[in-house]
Symmetry: D2
Subunit: 339 residues, 4 copies
């Protein structure tokens, strides 16, 4: 039995016990299907409390689905998404956004993982030129794919620039919990308060069981979403098993507790990695991810002990991810033997 | 607390306790994501034992996804699906097959819910006429949407006719367990042994937690399915929570135990309904569904007590569905008061 | 050199000399591309005069494109099209509407080729039920696929019923000219005046060179159509060669002259066919098509002399189509030899 | 009457008289539709002679259609296209490839408009990783979007590298004629002889009337293309009006005559532009396009006299395109007045 924790991904960890408990509690008797049950209603209400707005909430199974369907809700086929080249939607979803929505993703260079405001300010908007796709939606990832975090001011600047040009703003919040935990703010402070239009709210990476939510801050964007979700194969019949998870997750601040632990372990891990002579971490560690280029024999040694994700094969850049259940002992064990 | 069982759908019931237990057991430590874990490997092996063939197995979240992706695996956009007009893929999936695959579904009249072999024998196949879509896949539902069941001989006749014309055969097995339980045969007897090419194997309606599987009996059809599943937003990162459910489900014949109970309760319910003077059940009750047209005041009375699904508003045809946890007492309660 | 006229399709005839002349005239010097030229502007103006409304007009290359893009303009993927089972969009476009738009076509039984108003009145509209596609657009064909013609009153009844239920109405006008010629009315009398929302206006079958137009009677439906046309590969760079054809076609009533000739020849042909003992024409001949079941040896004889389209292989039903350049002599030649 | 020639695009010119003549000749009597006519057969034979191979040929209406359908023939939705960032398919087709095929286009930096071989050699090919799209098709443009031309050796190196990695090669030959004319070689020397798998063969930009062809050098790639073309709305009913154009175009080397003239005028124009003090042409002029950054007041002056296409608004880079009917006098007229 391998009880060693993985640093390969926060998808390697399991489900938090309180979440499994919530699922067990939800497993009581018969209830209407497809979200007509009282647990789902309560869960949606919890989102409205947490996000301090009368948001529309739709549960889905995967982060790729949340992102792709958010795009479907906002864009027609000829309308395009503005994102960084390294955005998860651009690189890591096997082209699901293009395949499902027909929309093109326009990739731009990032700065420390973030989309520069200048991209939005300068992007060509030519509503009279049908030869090119028409930008319609800006998609940013919080925390970014590089483990960095947009501040509320940075978010506000992005949404302001986007809205000024008639663009909507989507946040891929697969690790939004980690961002809010790092900044010490409420989830609403990074979404409702800064003008996000639609959010992919992640759960799976932070201790949930295949549960994500698409959250609309503008009701009209959600008008037809029930149909889009079903037609996109993401309508759970036994919805309560998705929705129930968010009751303790949001209601008891489990999201923050889990994220704080993962974040803290990332900082702890980074310190240990940086103590290796010649190690280099190219970006600040703000969420639960540490990127590092390590000298040999350390690089090979760690890849044998506890494989990290090889982010860039040509530079040897590794990505270590900490989970909600990673402990200092787990980190220490990485360094128990010297290569 | 409403402890009354619903007859509206088998989606109204919850998850079987043994399944929740299997999920809890799977929730131990860290494991590789996306199906690289040992539980998923074991689960796939279990499918191979159960279906007595070296099948390829892919877990997905919903029945609509299983059906739609099976079509995607078999058909290019101009290739069509042959099914009954009342097939779930044709009526109840919000056009997901067309939207996701581009393929057209050709609907034909059913006989007691079943697709007549003559449809396959007579269907126009014109590989030189690009004006019409080209039939490629026959899709049948076992048990059918009307609660009837194809015998092994009927299935063999369909697959033989289909293969003779170069058509593949898909089985929507959302309630395959109920069919095998009714016939007293193994799951393989209705699939492997009769020439099914690809199966949507349902779990959710029979006590699982949002877990379905696409099972390929021809390896070459599965060649690119890993990419199709991811691009279609159905790749679970924490796969073990899907795959683990099938270990007891298939390994301990829980599928049969659950299905037998639901089937038996449908028979029991049917007898009680038929005892109402003037009641009429248009089709035989072979699986866990009872269709009935009831006289007033019984029809309204039951719709108030425990709403069934109104299958046809103009005729007043109701569909009652029994679940794995429906009991005789639950049925009796329907008739506790006379209207 | 085979100078014999075909009765297989009005696609077998060529281009009317006046149309070729218009193209030659348009071929003068350089002009802006993509519709920015004065000929296209003039042609669109001509449509506005002819249709007596400030319509939006977009030229495309094929009838399948006109129909499919009209659907794209009106329907989102989960919104469905209501049509007869024999509608060209349903049977003869190789699934282009489904493939390009994702929308499902709901096929209903026809009466003499026409969609009964009762279909619209009774169709299930359930905007709260995401399991089924949502009807959004009624599509009718004028003249119908069976060569019959909706009267203005019939059209008015259809659009009234549709609009009352929130449905838009599309007319597949591949042979609209034949219908207007038969009824002796203006094109506007069958479109603008009766509440059509969007029209596929055919040209090719009536003497044009691969030129069709999508005509919007509601401006807001056309809002994004320039992008949809380009993204659907139907934007002509040298647009003047499409648009110029409609100047004489509409401006000199060439459409009517051509259609009258084709219609008259169909009537003439029908009389000759009906003079064959045992011949049966199942539907009235109102446009340029004659459907007939002929006794042997006449059926085989004519299929050798001048093949008609075998509409139904099992009944031997043949479709004869007359063109703008069909003459009485051409018809007579069919009967020159007795089998 | 403005008889001034435009330098804005080769789409601004008209149709060559010999092409109009061929169309007139084709307009004789009735013929089978959809390509069953003898003119289309002869035209396809002409392609086989010209390309010195038993190619499969399909006529379509636009360059965007030719490119998009070539991609559809080669790629499934999760398979990707490798191209330069400035490829026409990536920038100027309103996302038609993504919308129609679902496939993603991976854009790479160009060198003088060309795709470097090293891109192909280094591109990540991970057939076991379903998180990313799988490269399948390399698409290059000849002449490039910047008016430069791949030599036969460069093409051979690209196809060799591609085939070695299991990739197919598509050539966007919207201006292939200009390339072959420049190099003084046959069309086959840049396609058949260097290993191209599928070609979009342009006609419209070089004097044809909305006529392009998709040419397959591997028969198996074309297996289902008749259905794909119809379902993609690109099947001409009166096919002879497309196919007939290629008879003189290829059969009398009109393609070369037209291209030579356009190319020569581009060289002539370039010399005149370079004679403006401070003018800069960033790339060699090999085909019929001249890119130039001009000093003021010349830049504004010429944009008033004969607007070129503003390729880059921030740098003021202009693109001048010469057509088959551009003359020295036309060029001289640009410089008739000094600003």
């Amino acid at each position: 039995m391998n009880s060693f924790k993985s640093f390969g991904s926060d998808n390697h960890s399991g489900v938090h016990p309180e979440i499994l408990l919530a699922i067990s509690v939800a497993n009581e008797g018969h209830m209407p299907a497809y979200g007509g049950d009282p647990i789902t209603s309560a869960s949606i209400e919890q989102f409205r409390v947490t996000f301090k707005k009368d948001v529309e909430v739709f549960f889905v199974f995967t982060g790729t689905a949340a992102n792709t369907l958010a795009i479907r809700a906002c864009c027609r086929g000829f309308e395009a998404v503005v994102a960084t080249t390294i955005a998860h939607i651009n690189e890591d979803e096997c082209g699901a956004p293009e395949f499902i929505t027909g929309s093109k993703i326009l990739g731009f260079a990032h700065e420390n993982g973030k989309l520069p405001v200048s991209v939005i300010e300068k992007i060509r908007m030519a509503p009279d030129d049908p030869h090119r796709v028409l930008p319609k939606l800006v998609s940013i990832t919080q925390a970014t794919e590089l483990g960095t975090i947009y501040t509320p001011d940075e978010l506000r600047a992005l949404t302001k620039a986007a809205h000024a040009r008639g663009l909507l703003v989507h946040m891929d919040g697969a690790r939004l919990a980690n961002a809010a935990a790092y900044l010490g703010v409420e989830l609403s402070a990074l979404t409702t308060d800064v003008g996000i239009d639609v959010l992919s709210f992640g759960g799976t990476k932070n201790g949930l069981l295949c549960a994500e939510a698409v959250v609309f801050f503008q009701k009209d964007l959600a008008e037809a979403f029930a149909f889009m979700r079903k037609q996109s194969m993401q309508l759970a019949s036994k919805m309560r098993y998705l929705s129930s998870q968010f009751l303790p997750y949001l209601g008891t601040d489990l999201w923050r507790k889990n994220a704080l632990q993962a974040n803290a372990m990332a900082i702890y891990l980074r310190r240990r990695l940086e103590s290796i002579e010649g190690a280099r971490c190219p970006w600040p560690t703000e969420a639960n991810e540490v990127f590092a280029i390590l000298p040999e024999p350390w690089s090979s040694h760690l890849q044998t002990t506890a494989p990290a994700y090889l982010w860039n094969a040509s530079t040897g850049l590794l990505r270590f991810v900490c989970s909600f259940d990673t402990t200092e002992a787990d980190v220490d064990r990485l360094f128990a033997k010297t290569p």
